[in-house]
Symmetry: C2
Subunit: 110 residues, 2 copies
DNA sequence: TTTAGTACCTTGCGATACAAGGTATCAAAA
DNA sequence: TTTTGATACCTTGTATCGCAAGGTACTAAA
């Protein structure tokens, strides 16, 4: 019960920054969807396929991401996503928004 | 367009921590709904009635909040919300979850 | 030619944020 | 004494979105 409650709270917080996390990861290196899922899981941000795929499509449609296909030696081709210039701009805006929220919570919890 | 985009991003981030903010405010002082809205607005967390009322009811039903009615000299009676013991426990869990996410983003953006 | 591994994507349900609209109380002005 | 304005409560309907579940396709090895 309470456990569940807390998991909900965490996932709610994670959801709020999910797009920010995706752009942050892609800012360092291009990546394909399954790879992204693993990198985010390593960073303790849980995200599943059914969440990620539509989200990547949305971000691509907003012009934040572009992609290219690359052949793989061990399975089907991979769709590598990369940040666009607009994506980098938006990422900077996210940095600001994030800083603001962190400050806000510092104050609220002080 | 882009403006809108960024507003969406901000509000998404805000949404993720909204419950945390509410409990944080109530941890300092009991408050009634309209008062909460103003305090959060001052802290740059925008929340509207249609969001807050159902959310307070949810938190009350989860046993995190309790309320009492108090007469007011300038209008209808006010429903003052207060943190329960369970609410305080959950708030501490939120502190942990929040710290974890802040650390995660520090690393992702480093 | 079947199985295992990897990678892509979609569908349907449930939760929820928010705009808009509604009710009730009190006090002061008309 | 009725209307207006301020304050406070709450609900309804719509749209969005996360996630579980299910589905397709390619490659290599058994």
């Amino acid at each position: 019960m309470t456990e569940n409650n807390i998991e909900n709270i965490k996932s709610q917080m994670r959801r709020g920054v999910l797009e920010y996390c995706i752009l942050s990861v892609l800012d360092k290196n291009d990546a394909y969807a399954s790879e992204l899922i693993n990198k985010l899981k390593d960073a303790r941000i849980i995200v599943v396929e059914g969440t990620l795929y539509p989200l990547l499509t949305r971000q691509k449609n907003q012009g934040l991401l572009a992609y290219r296909w690359e052949e793989s030696t061990q399975g089907p081709p991979r769709k590598y996503y990369t940040l666009t210039d607009k994506g980098r701009e938006v990422l900077q805006e996210m940095d600001k928004a994030w800083k603001e929220i962190v400050e806000t919570l510092d104050i609220l919890r002080k």
